[in-house]
Amino acid sequence: MAGNTNTLSKEEELKKRSHIALLRSLLPIIGLVVVFVVFNILTKGRMVQKFSMAMTQIYVTMIASTGVFFVMTMGGLDFSQGSILGMASIVVCLVSKTSIPLAIVAGIATGAAIGAINGFFYVNRKIKSFIVTICTMFLFRGIIKYLTSNAPVQGSAKLIMLNTDRMKLICMLVVVVIGFFAFRFTRFGMYLKAIGAGEKAAKFAGIRTDRMKFLVYVLAGAITGFAAFINSIKVGSVTASGGNQVETQILIALVLGGMPISGGAKARFSNIVIGSALYVVLSSGLNMVGLSTQAQQLVQGVVFLVFVAVFADRESLRVIK
């Protein structure tokens, strides 16, 4: 870029730019407060009263969002999350009849395995991530439908007994705290951001980009595999639509939280927490004011579009890998 000459005015310009950046970073929080207040007025305070009910939706979304957040920071996308959640939930339900701890491990392993398939085709076969994950989304949705064609897959009764808010809250906190620490205070987070901000240069700075990309898909699958455990204790059984559209919910949640859709250095871990909360308040609020499912989807679509437009990082805009 030629032309940025006057150093003094350049500083001012940067200051102005940082004001805009600050405003952008505050928008999700402001959005959360505004949406929360508006729905409380609309529902005459019912939302506060039923707060814990609304909260039950947040666990799965926030846990699964953590994995997808890593994927998106790296500049990728993952549309197979819903199918991963469905598949892993089936496995959790089946294995839960033998042993609950084993069921948790099996769920994580299932998710990791599907993540490995995504990672393999993305990294080794060099196919764009959204194409790969759309393929695996359909593939595993098909398998889920096949497995549930006669009857929903039932979990053991012990599973449902675990369905307490405390249990789910602890699980969620464990994932989020570990995720936050890894992202913010270890090389893992720096490497992810570097890959998202310029993969080739990251490679030339000594990052094993291919291995990293593969492992992050495995990790995202594993985390959602763990979320499947929470999902299973909540619903107790899996139907053909188990986990359906979770991938879009995650995507909307992250974008509402201020996540730049092309990833990179501007990704913040708070995007997950605020985004998931905003999404849950928005969707349960729309539900409480009595909007039909169709109208709810319409509103979500509009909100999604507005946020993507606001947070698109136009300077670094390019095709998502």
Partner: protein
């Protein structure tokens, strides 16, 4: 000869509150090569970008042959008779050569809504043949050609319709000697046809040789217009910098003995389609140069040394016997690399200066094992950004905001911070103004004296001659000659081995 072609009148352009071009006025004549010079960020490209419709004009006028023009895009500019060859790659991937040449002018080949591809290819091939680029096929995908050939395609695209003004923006730094000669030939042809060239270049000898008139800008302000026959290189530097440039440009010593200690041995290294059977040794405290045509394979040699080549055979070995086969092991064993493709391969563009500097050194910037320390990272980044005097607001600023020269400083700061002993510098001064160039040369000289070893790959023969203890010339993927440092060494003795 002195008929005015283009009047630039009171031109202004601001970005935000940055004044990129301030009230600039001067005239450009018919049938001349008019050079625009100035340091990075002096407003040269901003000015020509307004002329060619890439940027809009804030205020002021361009008067071309007595008629005011204000093109809104490049196609409109073309229709007014103005075209541009840009610094970076200006061809579009996924299109054929012919489609690139006639981009925006396809209508000529469209009848009843159907494009006559054959006619387009025929005409494009005719043009290519006429220019002497017959080996480029009009119907082939532009992706099939290398950087150099694509530049030739751009030359055809920008000049086939005999535009009144052709802007050549910093194109020569991306070209090898051969490509430059080709471009010079076309420049002379355009001038002899009575048309005008606006020539932007950092290479002052080239500016003096090629241009008739030279206009200098500094910080967006018009400084002076001079005849190139009436000024020399030092005069130009004075105009650009605004004061006398003193001190050594290149290193000045001759006859110093280089240590016998070998730090890097490259044995029979081959990369399919790029280089074959390259062997050499790098000594402690040595600056080893690699010169050649752009596609001679010299750039690949740098990548191969750094373990970044795909499908490499042969061995790269350090003094202690360690084999370097991938980038992480190269970095771990104190090697550093700066790429010719600075924006893609050297700096992580959309990341902060600080993160860019810290990236390879994260291992040592921890408070507890594995836990990064924000404070240590900040200190580290500040220390080395300051050591390289990177022009910035702070280390949180994104690299994408910086000029080419400053980006290169960030990359060098990263490796100085890592305290690398062996540096592979590919085109370290490409597209960088003289002030920063001088800084980089002096840095290299300091490093050499402190016992670091440097491989310098460059298309600029003068800097190889000025900086290196030894120069290896590459031709067709192999080493074709070796030249030792000497005051008698000149460009011709290098070129003789290159072609």
């Amino acid at each position: 000869m002195s008929e005015v072609r283009l009047q630039v009148q009171n031109l202004c352009k601001t970005f935000g509150i940055t004044k990129a071009v301030q009230n600039v006025s001067f005239n450009i004549n018919k049938g001349e090569v008019h050079a625009l010079i100035g340091e990075n960020g002096s407003g040269k490209s901003t000015l020509t970008n307004m002329l060619t419709g890439i940027y809009t004009i804030d205020s002021g006028h361009f008067i071309l042959d007595g008629k005011e023009i204000h093109p809104k895009n490049q196609v409109e500019a073309n229709n007014e008779g103005v075209s541009i060859i840009v610094q970076e790659l200006g061809t579009l991937s996924g299109l054929t050569v012919a489609e690139n040449i006639f981009l925006g002018h396809e209508d000529r080949f469209v009848k009843f809504g159907i494009k006559n591809t054959n006619a387009m290819n025929r005409e494009a091939q005719g043009l290519l043949d006429k220019y002497g680029f017959g080996r480029i096929k009009a119907s082939a995908m532009v992706d099939d050609y290398n950087f150099e050939d694509r530049k030739l395609v751009e030359i055809v695209k920008a000049t086939y319709f005999q535009p009144k003004i052709v802007v050549i923006d910093e194109t020569t730094t991306a070209l090898s000697q051969e490509g430059r000669e080709e471009l010079y030939k076309q420049m002379n042809r355009i001038r002899s046809e009575g048309n005008t060239i606006i020539f932007i270049s950092h290479d002052l000898p080239e500016v003096l040789r090629m241009s008739d008139t030279i206009t200098c800008l500094r910080d967006g302000v018009y400084i002076d217009t001079v005849k190139s026959s009436e000024i020399d290189e030092d005069g130009l530097k004075r105009l650009m910098v605004g004061r006398e440039v003193t001190g050594d440009y290149y290193r000045s010593d001759y006859g110093e003995k280089v240590s016998d200690e070998v730090v890097l041995t490259v044995d029979n290294v081959s990369v399919p389609g790029q280089i074959h059977d390259v062997s050499f040794k790098l000594h402690k405290g040595e600056i080893l140069g690699f010169g050649g045509l752009s596609e001679s394979g010299m750039h690949e040699v740098g990548k191969a040394c750094f373990g970044a080549s795909f499908d490499r055979t042969g061995s790269v070995t350090l003094a202690d016997g360690t084999h370097i086969n991938n980038i992480p092991s190269a970095i771990k064993h104190s090697m550093a690399y700066t790429s010719k493709d600075r924006d893609n391969e050297s700096v992580v563009m959309n990341q902060s200066i600080g993160d860019n500097i810290c990236l390879p050194s994260l291992d040592s910037l921890t408070s507890l094992p594995g836990v990064l320390s924000d404070r240590k990272m900040k200190d580290f980044a500040n220390t080395y950004a300051a050591e390289m005097s990177v022009k910035m607001v702070d280390t949180d600023q994104f690299v994408s905001d910086l000029s080419g020269g400053n980006k290169q400083k960030v990359v060098l700061a990263r490796w100085i911070g890592k305290d690398s002993d062996i540096l592979v510098l590919d085109s370290p001064t490409r597209g960088i103004d003289i002030k920063v160039k001088q800084d980089i040369y002096q840095l290299m000289d300091r490093m050499r004296k402190s016992g670091k070893s440097i491989i310098m790959i460059s298309e600029e023969l003068m800097e190889l001659i000025g900086m290196c203890d030894r120069i290896l010339i590459m031709k067709d993927g192999a080493i074709s000659g070796e030249l030792m440092r000497s005051p008698e060494l000149d460009e011709n003795s290098l070129i003789a081995k290159m072609v």
